[in-house]
């Protein structure tokens, strides 16, 4: 009977014990000393012992109180250390299990919001987005190249290619720009996905007199 009471007390401590060891002490005292399982001086001694030995103070005090309490409440249990052992196992597990479950079932939620899986999904979406944009871009840029003159000043061509890239990455894959959010999509260094589009790539290679600085970086970026 005392074991059930101990387990119940320590489950409550596990659920409401916010703030770690010392913050739990008042709760432990309330639920262990007040029913008369352990005397006030004994509790003070247990705190001292828990502090002197390695390990978290909550576990230490739970183990000690679990060992001492059954013998103190029912004198018939005081003889054999096995009853104390049972009590300390019960208390230690009872104080750990609630928070254990909370962390386990809090942790997948946490993983879903910020973890690896989401990051990977993001990249998957980005890749498929840019693939779709790729095929669209081929058509669009082809049409654009019909309209715009082919070999004029390099600045103009640059503008045209970037505009194309800006349209593609901006409209068709809004999630495809994970880290380049600060720069506007059509600025010179932000050719993010252009490295993946063979048509525009060759177009730009033909038209540009010198490669822009963002070029090699853009290739690496699209494979990240």
């Amino acid at each position: 009977m005392i074991y059930l009471k101990l387990i119940w007390a320590y489950i409550k401590i596990g659920i409401f014990g916010f703030g770690g060891g010392y913050a739990m002490l008042s709760l432990v005292e309330h639920s262990v000393v007040d029913p008369g399982w352990i005397s006030e001086t004994m509790f003070t001694d247990i705190v001292a012992i828990s502090q002197m030995t390695p390990g978290p103070i909550g576990i230490n005090s739970a183990t000690y109180i679990g060992y001492v309490a059954p013998g103190a409440v029912e004198p018939s249990l005081a003889g054999s250390p096995l009853w104390g052992l049972l009590g300390s196992v019960a208390c230690t597990l009872a104080v750990v299990v609630p928070s254990f479950l909370m962390v386990l079932y809090g942790s997948p939620f946490h993983r879903r919001t910020q973890g690896e899986r989401n990051y990977k999904g993001h990249i998957h979406r980005a890749a498929s987005g840019s693939r779709r944009a790729d095929s669209l871009c081929r058509n669009t840029s082809h049409e654009l190249s019909e309209f715009l003159p082919h070999r004029t000043a390099p600045g103009v061509d640059n503008q045209r290619g970037d505009m194309c890239g800006g349209v593609c990455s901006g409209v068709f894959s809004p999630s495809a720009r994970p880290s380049q959010g600060e720069a506007p999509p059509h600025s010179g260094n932000n050719n993010g996905r252009l490295g993946r589009f063979p048509y525009i790539w060759t177009l730009r290679k033909q038209n540009m007199t010198k490669p822009s600085s963002g070029f090699s970086g853009s290739c690496r970026c699209s494979h990240a």
Binding site: A23, T44, I49, M52, P54, G55, Y67, V96
Partner: protein, 205 residues
């Protein structure tokens, strides 16, 4: 499955045995509970073994800290779950608990309350320790009061609650009541401040 593959790409995989030994060492050689353990866990798991990146560890720490229970066990469960899923969580938790459990069990078997009372040396040793325990408990009170940024306006709350709990009258002095009331109060304050913020924003627009 995909998840596991990706984590093996970014960081070395931890085996259950390694995880258990790491947390066993952490549990056996750290004195002074929660926060003293955190830095040692970080050094072992992040710096030495590289199972988890530092930012991820800080995220897990935030999770472990905001949940109730023993901080060291919470962070062990979170780290174990992240490195070896559910089995890892159980392993890491057992590794953290086991050393202190065994040590305290040995002490409890030999250092019974009757022995402390009857042995003159031991009883005088514990007489000397008891005032020091008061200091041990007061020190975190001061540091957590600083962390909570108590002002003259709010200092009455902990003082009043402490008095009510020490009065020791039934329902009123149950610490759980104040924990729940505090959580409720914080939630209501959050709601109220959000509403206030919305009102001022609406007024501007």
């Amino acid at each position: 499955m995909q998840d596991r593959e990706s984590s093996s790409l970014t960081s070395p995989r931890a085996s259950l045995g390694e995880l258990f030994v790491s947390f066993l060492k952490i549990g056996a050689f750290t004195f002074g509970g929660g926060w003293a353990m955190i830095s040692i866990i970080e050094r072992e798991i992040v710096d030495k073994k590289g199972w988890i990146r530092r930012e991820e560890f800080l995220d897990l720490l935030a999770l472990a800290q905001s949940l109730p229970g023993i901080l060291a066990v919470n962070i062990a469960v979170a780290v174990g779950d992240r490195t070896c899923s559910r089995r890892g969580a159980v392993t890491a938790a057992l590794g953290t608990i086991l050393p202190s459990f065994l040590i305290i069990l040995a002490i409890a078997i030999f250092l019974t309350p009757d022995l402390i009372k009857s042995n003159r040396v031991l009883s005088s040793v514990f007489m000397g320790i008891r005032p020091a325990v008061v200091a041990l408990i007061v020190a975190p009170v001061i540091s957590s009061a600083k962390a909570a940024k108590l002002t003259l306006k709010t200092v009455w709350i902990p003082v009043l609650v402490a008095l009510l709990i020490s009065l020791n009258i039934g329902f009123i002095s149950n610490p759980i009541v104040y924990i729940v009331l505090g959580a409720l109060g914080g939630w209501l304050y959050f709601k109220w401040s959000v509403r206030k913020l919305r009102k001022t924003k609406g007024g501007d627009a």
